[in-house]
């Protein structure tokens, strides 16, 4: 309808589109280049350079890198840590938000401020004592320590967000449950949690991806090869002298694939969720 005003549109509109498309190409360029060169042989790379099309799919670089770092193991570690953290942090957030949003406990404003501060504190200001305590407790270089720490860090944000959501929870439903004789514990699990499911699933996905993407604490806590996560394994090998051009490219591709896969699988939830955090 709007286009009726200027049939065919002003010539400028194609220029705007072209500029935006060029920018999109620039943004996607590294993804394309990495993929292109991850499936080339080192000989092809040195003769044809990074822009030439591969003459077939050469998987040796990827396979060799995969075996050398035992990448399946890293995937499993990342998956186990992120999955456990996501679920545990949501449970913790729900318990807190139940007390704050629905129970309206005294001093809830200060409790929220506490969680907000806990969430914004840089990990650098916690890391050495955590490292020291973990060593004392025999939990250094164990996934358990990382799981506990990230559960707490993610729950700080989850509590903050979920308290606002549960603060809006319809009172009539709660009163009806109380009339039916449901105690608080039952009300939480039978009524509040099922009704809040959409928000909770957004949180699970976010916690999973955020934990997957973490680098600093896993770098310090998970030093043995058997415990490393995907970003740590790739990060510490970056620039390694043993890696040639195509193998470096293969390693980058192995980091990209799971991240992009999560994005595609959870796209709808994510685009909805990114804005949940922003609008509060």
């Amino acid at each position: 309808m709007r286009t009726l005003r200027a049939p065919g549109g002003p010539p400028g509109r194609w220029a705007v589109l072209a500029a935006l498309v060029v920018l999109a190409v620039v943004m996607l360029f590294p993804f394309v280049i990495v993929t292109l060169n991850a499936i080339k042989s080192p000989a092809e790379y040195s003769s044809g350079g990074p822009l030439s099309l591969p003459q077939g799919v050469y998987l040796d670089g990827i396979v060799e890198f995969w075996q050398r770092v035992d990448f399946g193991r890293k995937l499993w570690n990342s998956f186990l840590i992120s999955g456990t953290v996501a679920l545990a942090a949501v449970v913790l957030s729900v318990l807190n938000a139940y007390a704050i949003g629905i129970g309206r406990v005294r001093g809830r404003l200060w409790i929220l401020v506490f969680f907000l501060v806990a969430n914004t504190l840089p990990q650098e200001a916690l890391v050495y004592p955590l490292y020291y305590l973990a060593k004392q407790a025999g939990l250094y270089d164990s996934t358990l320590a990382v799981i506990v720490i990230f559960t707490v860090i993610q729950a700080a944000f989850g509590t903050y967000l979920l308290s606002a959501v549960l603060g809006q929870f319809p009172r009539e439903i709660l009163e009806a449950a109380a009339l039916d004789g449901a105690g608080r514990w039952r009300t939480l699990w039978r009524i509040v949690v099922p009704i809040s499911r959409p928000t909770l699933s957004v949180l699970v996905i976010f916690f999973f991806i955020w934990t997957w993407n973490e680098f600093f604490l896993p770098l310090i806590f998970l030093i043995s090869n058997d415990n490393q996560t995907v970003p740590v394994a790739l990060g510490v090998l970056q620039g390694d002298k043993m890696m040639d051009a195509t193998m470096s490219s293969a390693s980058a591709l192995l980091g990209i694939v799971p991240a992009v896969a999560f994005f595609l699988i959870f796209q709808r939830t994510l685009t909805r969720g990114i804005t949940v955090g922003a609008v509060k």
Partner: protein, 290 residues
């Protein structure tokens, strides 16, 4: 069972698990970090109390000041530039491309800008570490250059900043576009009928409508820039020299390589203080604004 609820009374128990965990993971470690910052300690043996010694040393340490200057550069690259470009892109996609070429085109472009954001930031570093490698890296090969992007102390910080713009740009675009969907289209239409140019509408209508989103993006991105560690670790390790040193990497260095834990703790404490202050300033500003 169904006692009439004492307001708030019994709900405290639900906070107990968090109370214990937060005490162990956040409160006690943070208190230990602050205490350690007043000592000289190698990580083993007994710390020696030095009072404000580490902080006095900080004030005289050129690397510390340089690391904060680099942090300012990263705030520009991760918060300021993406917000400005993101505003223009979001507005262009939303009420120009979306209307003239359809929402599918707009969504596809938005997804392209957002894609770098889905990567773990360390993996983004791995990607660019490879692209920018001085001998075999794709960038030098394609453009026939011999630039040592990350190894030349004159340009290393600028290179890292460019990588961070690439990484960060999609986030404001997505947030701002969502904000524009919330905004009232009638205002725009009225202004258009009055003959206001696209830029005037952008400045006087679009931006005021999504002010809350702009605040949130600036706050979260500024904090992310203050905390930045992964890309520095992967791309430059703070070097060459200390050309890309940032406070978080500087504290890491003191903790785990120089065994100067007291000094590292002081750096981390200052960083924490700055981040908390910045957060509260932003929130106050936002409150006053609305």
């Amino acid at each position: 069972m169904a006692r009439p609820a004492r307001r708030g009374g019994g709900y405290w128990v639900y906070l107990i698990p968090s109370l214990v965990l937060f005490l162990v993971v956040i409160v006690v470690p943070f208190a230990m970090n602050v205490t350690t910052s007043f000592t000289r300690w190698s990580g083993v043996g007994t710390p020696t109390w030095v009072g404000l010694g580490n902080y006095a040393k900080l004030l005289r340490d050129e690397r510390f000041w340089a690391s904060f200057q680099h942090n300012v550069g990263l705030i520009v690259a991760m918060a300021v530039v993406p917000t400005i470009i993101g505003l223009v892109l979001a507005a262009a996609l939303f009420d120009y491309i979306g209307r003239r070429f359809g929402t599918r085109t707009a969504s596809a472009l938005r997804a392209a800008y957002y894609l770098p954001q889905v990567l773990p930031v360390a993996v983004a570093g791995v990607v660019w570490g490879w692209m920018l490698h001085p001998s075999y890296g794709a960038v030098n090969q394609i453009f026939g250059l011999k630039v040592n992007w990350l190894g030349d102390s004159d340009i290393a910080l600028a290179t890292v900043m460019a990588v961070m713009v690439w990484f960060q740009l999609g986030y404001p675009v997505v947030i701002f576009m969502a904000g524009l969907q919330r905004a009232d289209p009638a205002l725009h239409e009225a202004a258009e009928i009055d003959g206001a140019s696209w830029w005037r509408r952008f400045w006087h209508i679009t931006i005021p409508q999504i002010r809350p989103e702009i605040f949130v993006v600036l706050l979260t991105c500024t904090i992310a820039a203050l905390k930045v560690f992964g890309p520095i670790f992967v791309l430059t390790r703070g070097g060459p020299g200390s050309a890309t040193m940032v406070p978080s990497y500087f504290s890491y260095l003191n903790f785990f390589q120089k065994a100067d834990v007291g000094y590292g703790s002081a750096i981390a404490t200052v960083l924490a203080l700055i981040i908390v202050v910045v957060t509260f300033l932003f929130l106050r500003l936002q409150e006053r604004d609305s």
